[in-house]
């Protein structure tokens, strides 16, 4: 299977190499996004992720397909977590494997950048005294 696209409760980072590994791949590049303790100097207690799952999976699949068209890739993984996540917990993992390293680095960057632009997933920052839907307001 060339693509693995999932919306999950928890991201298991230990599986990703087995999923991307391939006899024809000399390079594997992976990006993990995790919950950071501070946003603009304010302490974050947790993040809460919500999704429109049917559409999110479709959009992630489109991104993976575009990456497979743009670069010579052997495998692509895109997984996003939903629900409440604490500091240091992974929330997203994307990666690609290819014969040479240029392709997997460029594709990996494209996967995360495009996911953040188009995939219907919403993040609420939970601070001590308030909650904020990220990017909702200018």
């Amino acid at each position: 299977m060339k693509k693995r696209i999932e919306i999950v409760e928890h991201i298991d980072t230990s599986q990703v190499y087995a999923e991307l590994s391939d006899p024809l791949s000399g390079g594997i590049c992976v990006f993990v996004g995790a919950v950071r303790e501070f946003t603009e100097n304010e302490e974050v207690v947790a993040l809460e992720f919500e999704t429109y799952k049917t559409m999110a999976l479709k959009e992630m699949d489109k991104i993976a397909e575009r990456a497979l068209e743009k670069w010579k890739l052997n495998k692509v993984v895109m997984k996003h977590a939903i629900g409440q996540k604490s500091v240091e917990e992974p929330v997203v993992i994307v990666g690609a494997s290819s014969a040479h390293r240029d392709e997997c680095f460029e594709a990996c960057r494209f996967l995360i950048d495009t996911l953040k632009e188009t995939v219907p997933i919403w993040k609420k920052e939970i601070f001590k005294n308030k909650t904020v839907w990220v990017s909702a307001h200018p």
Partner: protein
């Protein structure tokens, strides 16, 4: 026609879905639906952006709406 609300859109409307049951109530296009929502809930105009998906695909303002469509209001996404 069923309209789904996510993220801050759900907070603004106070519900995760809304049904337009009769043909006459249902906005004819994506643009008309947006206009209807902005008039009913002025908070929508304060958002950075607002997109609409029809049957889980992004849809432009001129896309017509049918009674059995699943429509979703997509406030600014913030995954990752």
């Amino acid at each position: 026609m069923e309209v789904l609300f996510f993220g801050i859109a759900k907070d603004i409307v106070g519900a995760s879905q809304m049904a337009f049951s009769s043909e006459s109530d249902t906005p004819e296009t994506v643009g008309a639906l947006k206009k209807h929502l902005a008039e009913t809930y002025p908070e929508f105009s304060r958002l950075t952006s607002m997109a609409v998906a029809v049957n889980s695909e992004y849809a432009k303002d001129n896309v017509p709406l049918k009674r059995d469509d699943e429509v979703a209001i997509i406030p600014p996404v913030s995954g990752g």
